[in-house]
């Protein structure tokens, strides 16, 4: 019901929204919760386990009951707290975790089964038979208990991540937060003020009162106006600070577009990382419920929430309201209601010495012991001394006192302190470096206390920043906070502690009885505090009940660990921009478009996209294209973009010496104008990478690495240089991106290359020379990864696309053309050349038959470690070739024919395979125990995954041109 003249909603802007298929009206400034309450909707959800009917409990982000699904045009967001979701024109929402309608939820049968569903029930009930757990019990339990549902589609909404930096971060905008922001702002510090709600003011918007002689609302408005005018103050509304991390970093979630109809490019949420040397935690306090029988009915709400709905939204959640509270402050809710003309049926105060000045029935020393009204509260039962009586009421406002919102102070392992006067935990000072808790968050429960502490923390921060400020403190109420702790009312029935996960006082007592006495064990046994609200409403009361059940004090019992995030954070916000192709940077070759123009499917090679093959008309499978490309290279000429290979320019007097140190073989003796194949080991003696290095000048080399290990090798060189020879005359830098480089291979390669050069050169095998191509300075290498006469032509990257298109076009006139990764792979397997499929990090130079490349004349990285026992000899799996007449697979394992196939008889494994159109057989590269001595033997290849079982012949790994005559032609 809406109260005229009350609230901060904009009554000139009505909005229509939908809940469970029905249209409702609200106003701009309403939350879904306030608008539903204004429409008399009390039942908004079903509980997690028992499917109990539930209504709105709170007015903040701690809401455990009123979780709904927001249905967008393209997505569906579950578990949205109705207390935080603002209404807007066209908002569509629905209730969740129900089977059937919200009113007639078939899963409510669970409530009647509750005697069997107590704490730890599934550990006990579903232990046997063991095999039934995964197939039967778990799926049923998962269906029965739960939260909202997803659409099953990709979330293609716009999300954002961002960084912010400031001098002073103020978290919360109640009296302490506003005072801190104003003080730091006036001092000229860069201030970020984060407020979780959609308006600044915190409890002042709900509680009213006066500050500095003016109504609190006016004071808030004047401070906000000043803050908005300060260029050094940034106000972030709808932003929850979710975590405190190292070095003054805070996580925060901003609801950017969730309160408006979806708009292109407007982020739904933004996940912020805010860095601030000083932070003021002005997060206030959370009112705590009292556990009494059936305290979870729709219509039973927190007293402060009732006050918020009345004063901030102009809504009363009932016609006859009752109040059950143990503090003086909570009485204000009843007084505000009466002032607004709402009937207050009774005030029930458990404190025997409490006052009774209100103009309504006040029962001191009394407790609520039961409630009626399954779909909505109808009445309560009150016990006073030995007598009990009924009170008719449709809204019960309850309060068990307040818990300071200390979560952030505990995120770096700080433990809070128990304060007996407040019956609450307060922050340990300095638990998060740079963060100071103020106001109610630090146990200062009056408005005056909030202003004073907020001001003091800001002054401390600005002074640390070397600034000065003088801001007068306005006058405000400073009433003492008196309460008698009341966690649970004595009784036999179910009294809820954790509304979100359906945990009752009986569950906690049962946990204690069954030996789960530690608060951490109780939590996990009962699941208390493990719901989306993370126990904000229940943690302290639950441990108080546990303390009582185990005969310990609360301080001794301790709290569970507070972990980020403070409120649920959508993964979509944390991973903003990272969906699909956004996952990692994409690296494109200069030939990319030319390859795609020819219909080449692109495959990922690390971050690079490379053409897989170049289909011709009539070819229906990749194999047809691949076979053709292989034959083309073997018989005419092929062109491939090999720019992805790492290139490192190495210069200095000690460049040769440096290469001798990192490679197993010698480079200092390489003549200028020549190229040499090199093998590089890790410090542990296993193979790191291979590649060629060219000597371009006396003190100038160009190293190439594999595509996969380009970054790894660069890092390795940096490490070796910095750790072992920082004083050498050597410097190196990556030039991978500077050169576009194309392999030209085949019997007609020389003719094709020469047709491009302004002055043809006669290069020996493994030679390098500067060349001029089409008016550009380039480099020509005579190297081959195919087994044919091969060249690599390099030009500055800007000319790459032009050169590739020209090379391919001219190759085609010679019966050649482009070839892709598939053909490249076949060509190198036929030639027995290794890639990282073979040098996968667990093989030695000996394993790949290159032990002779480890020079005896000098030391190198990894040389000593490579001589360790077990890294060489016949017990090692050694590189061999395999030949078969049926399809074989990489990843298959090898066995002696006739032996059993199991782990113990494993003789080795296959790393690369192909169909070889050249040899007309299936070829493979494999590692086989003592393989080099077993050439000519037959092995059994087994691949359980693909169902292969093939007899292969063990061969020398080089199938094509073993003498290398073609290379040197």
């Amino acid at each position: 019901m809406r109260i005229d003249g009350k609230g901060l909603i904009d009554r000139t802007k009505p909005v229509r929204f939908r809940f469970d298929g029905k249209d409702y009206a609200g106003y701009k400034g309403d939350t879904l919760a306030s608008a539903l309450l204004a429409n008399g909707v009390r039942l908004v959800g079903r509980s997690f386990k028992y499917h109990r009917p539930r209504g709105v409990l709170t007015a903040g982000s701690e809401e455990p009951n009123a979780l709904v699904e927001v249905v967008g045009p393209t997505n569906q967001t579950p578990n949205v707290r109705a207390t935080m979701q603002e209404v807007f024109e066209g908002l569509v929402t629905q209730s969740q975790n129900r089977l059937g309608s919200l009113r007639f939820d078939l899963m409510a049968v669970n409530d009647y089964l509750s005697p069997f569903l107590s704490a730890g029930f599934y550990y006990k009930t579903f232990m046997w038979p063991r095999a039934f757990w995964e197939g039967l019990y778990e799926p049923i339990i998962r269906r029965a208990a739960g939260l909202g549902s997803l659409s099953g589609k990709h979330d293609e909404g716009t999300y954002e991540k961002a960084f912010a930096f400031c001098d002073v971060l103020v978290i919360g905008s109640g009296p302490s937060g506003l005072m801190a922001a104003l003080t730091a702002g006036r001092a000229g510090a860069d201030v970020i003020l984060c407020e979780e709600s959609h308006a600044l003011g915190g409890r002042l918007l709900s509680d009213g009162g006066t500050i500095g002689g003016v109504p609190a609302g006016e004071w808030v408005a004047s401070v906000v106006a000043e803050l908005q005018a300060l260029p050094n103050v940034r106000i972030m509304l709808r932003t929850s600070v979710t975590g405190a991390y190292d070095h003054g970093t805070y996580g925060a979630l901003e609801r950017v577009g969730l309160h408006k109809p979806a708009r292109p490019n407007l982020p739904r949420e933004c996940f912020w990382r805010i860095v601030a040397p000083h932070a003021v935690l002005a997060s206030g306090a959370l009112e705590r419920p009292v556990a009494f029988e059936n305290n979870d009915r729709p219509g039973i709400m927190m007293a402060s929430a009732v006050r918020t709905y009345l004063n901030r939204y102009g809504v009363v959640p009932g016609q006859r309201v009752t109040l059950f509270a143990n503090t003086d402050q909570a009485r204000a809710t009843a007084r505000d209601l009466m002032a607004a003309g709402v009937q207050v049926a009774a005030i029930i105060d458990p404190r025997p010495d409490a006052f009774s000045v209100e103009d309504c029935p006040v029962h001191v020393g009394a407790e609520v012991i039961g409630t009626r009204g399954r779909m909505g509260l109808r009445g309560i039962t009150v016990r006073k001394g030995s007598e009990t009586f009924e009170v008719e009421t449709d809204c019960l406002a309850m309060s068990g006192g307040w818990n300071p919102t200390i979560h952030l102070t505990c995120h770096m392992n700080g433990r809070p302190r128990w304060n007996e006067d407040l019956a609450a935990f307060v922050p340990m000072e300095g638990a998060v470096p740079g963060l100071v808790a103020v106001g109610a968050a630090n146990g200062s429960m009056s408005t005056h206390g909030a202003l004073v502490t907020g001001h003091a923390a800001a002054v401390q921060a600005v002074e640390a920043l070397g600034r000065k400020v003088s801001v007068p403190l306005p006058e405000a109420e400073d009433a003492p906070y008196r309460l008698r702790a009341l966690w649970a009312v004595e009784g036999k029935g179910r009294a809820w502690l954790d509304f979100a996960n359906d945990v009752t006082t009986n569950d906690v007592k049962l946990a204690a009885q069954e030996g789960f006495r530690s608060v951490e064990h109780m939590k996990r046994y009962t699941t208390q505090g493990m719901a989306p609200d993370q126990g904000k409403n229940s943690n302290v009361a639950a441990l108080a009940v546990l303390a009582d059940a185990t005969g310990r004090g609360i301080a001794e019992t301790g709290v569970t660990t507070f972990r980020p995030p403070y409120v649920p954070v959508s993964i979509a916000a944390m991973g903003a921009g990272g969906r699909a192709e956004g996952f990692a940077p994409q690296r494109f070759l200069t030939s990319d478009q030319a390859s795609r123009d020819r219909g080449a499917p692109m495959i990922e090679a690390g971050l690079w996209y490379r053409p897989s093959y170049f289909p011709k008309p009539g070819e229906t499978t990749w194999r047809e294209a691949c076979d053709r490309e292989v034959n083309m290279v073997r018989q005419a000429v092929g062109v491939a973009d090999v720019s992805t290979l790492g290139k490192i320019d190495i210069q200095g007097r000690d460049a040769g010496r440096f290469l001798d140190f990192v490679y197993t073989n010698t480079f200092s003796t390489l003549p200028v104008g020549r190229v040499r194949y090199g093998l590089m080991l890790r410090e542990d003696g296993l193979v790191l990478d291979d590649g060629t290095s060219a000597r371009l000048g006396d003190d100038h080399y160009l190293m190439t690495t594999t595509t996969a290990a380009a970054g790894l090798v660069m890092r390795h060189l940096d490490f070796v240089h910095q750790a072992f020879c920082a004083d050498w005359q050597v410097r190196f830098i990556s030039v991978t991106e500077s050169w576009a480089q194309f392999a030209v291979a085949g019997p007609k390669a020389r003719a094709l290359v020469n047709s491009f050069l302004e002055e043809p050169v006669e290069l020996p095998f493994m030679g390098v020379a500067p060349v001029r191509i089409g008016g550009v300075d380039g480099r020509l290498f005579r190297i081959s990864f195919s087994g044919e006469e091969g060249y690599e032509l390099a030009v500055p990257t800007r000319f790459g696309e032009a050169l590739f298109r020209d090379l391919v076009a001219r190759a085609e006139t010679m019966g050649g053309g482009p070839y892709g990764m598939e053909a490249l792979n076949v060509l190198r397997i036929e030639k027995g050349f290794i890639t990282h499929a073979e040098i996968h990090g667990r093989v030695t130079a000996h394993d790949i038959g290159m032990e002779k490349m480890v020079s005896a004349k000098k030391d190198c990285i990894g040389k000593a470690a490579a001589t360790r026992p077990g890294l060489w000899g016949p017990e090692r799996e050694q590189l061999v070739g395999l030949k078969a007449s049926a399809p074989i697979s990489a990843g298959a394992h090898l066995f002696v024919p006739g032996t059993e196939v199991h782990r113990e008889t494993d003789q080795g494994y296959v790393t690369s395979v192909c169909w070889s159109p050249t040899v007309d057989a299936w070829l493979g590269l494999a590692f086989l125990k003592d393989g080099r001595a077993r050439q000519g033997e037959r092995v059994r290849l087994v691949d359980h995954l693909r169902g292969l079982d093939v007899i292969c012949e063990v061969c020398h790994p080089v199938f094509h041109d073993p003498e290398g005559e073609k290379l040197r032609a």
């Binding site: 921009g577 070759l589 410097r731 830098i733 500077s738 500055p796 000319f799 696309e801």
Partner: protein, 181 residues
């Protein structure tokens, strides 16, 4: 054979939206100068004709269109001018290895804040500063060229991704400001 046609990574693409301008720019030649041990004097002499010297860490300097940018310990990139012959350093052409994006406008800092994890407030990152940092998952060299202007050097092969990230951020920042797209 005909002359080869040169292409930049993004073919000079540009975008203006919500007071932010993003454009691929040509900064001319880029040369890495890496000091060899004991080479400082020779390099200082080599740079003298340009009126430049090796920059302090995290900074750059400009003279008559030539710019020298700190890029690492004992290393700098000379841009906008051919590198004079010099002793004492490993000199490597990097002109084709990088794409350079200019980002300017009042909201440029907001766009950067979406991807760059460093403090780019003017006081913390004034004109004349250069950083090696990240743009989302990419290594970049970030220069503060004006109160409201930045230059971003990114590996050429990743230019399209860098453009995509900055374009998306520009759109989101504009949408937040209520700019109709």
């Amino acid at each position: 054979m005909p002359e080869l046609i040169a292409k930049s990574a993004l073919e000079g693409r540009s975008l203006t939206l919500g007071g932010v301008t993003l454009a691929e720019v040509d900064v001319g030649p880029i040369t890495s100068i890496a000091l060899l041990p004991g080479g400082a004097k020779a390099v200082a002499k080599g740079l003298k004709p340009l009126g430049l010297s090796m920059p302090e860490p995290n900074s750059f300097a400009e003279k008559k269109g030539a710019r020298i940018v700190w890029t690492g310990r004992d290393q700098a990139f000379l841009t906008g001018a051919d590198c004079p012959d010099m002793e004492g350093a490993a000199v490597t052409d990097q002109s084709d290895g990088w794409a350079v994006l200019a980002l300017s406008g009042a909201a440029a800092v907001d766009v950067l804040a979406r991807w760059v994890p460093v403090d780019v407030r003017l006081a913390a990152f004034p004109v004349g500063r250069a950083l090696r940092t990240q743009l989302n998952h990419m290594n970049v060299i970030l220069l503060r060229s004006g109160d409201y202007a930045f230059e971003i050097m990114v590996f050429r092969s990743m230019a399209r991704t860098a453009w995509h990230e900055l374009e998306a951020a520009t759109h989101m920042v504009a949408a937040r400001a209520g700019v109709k797209i």
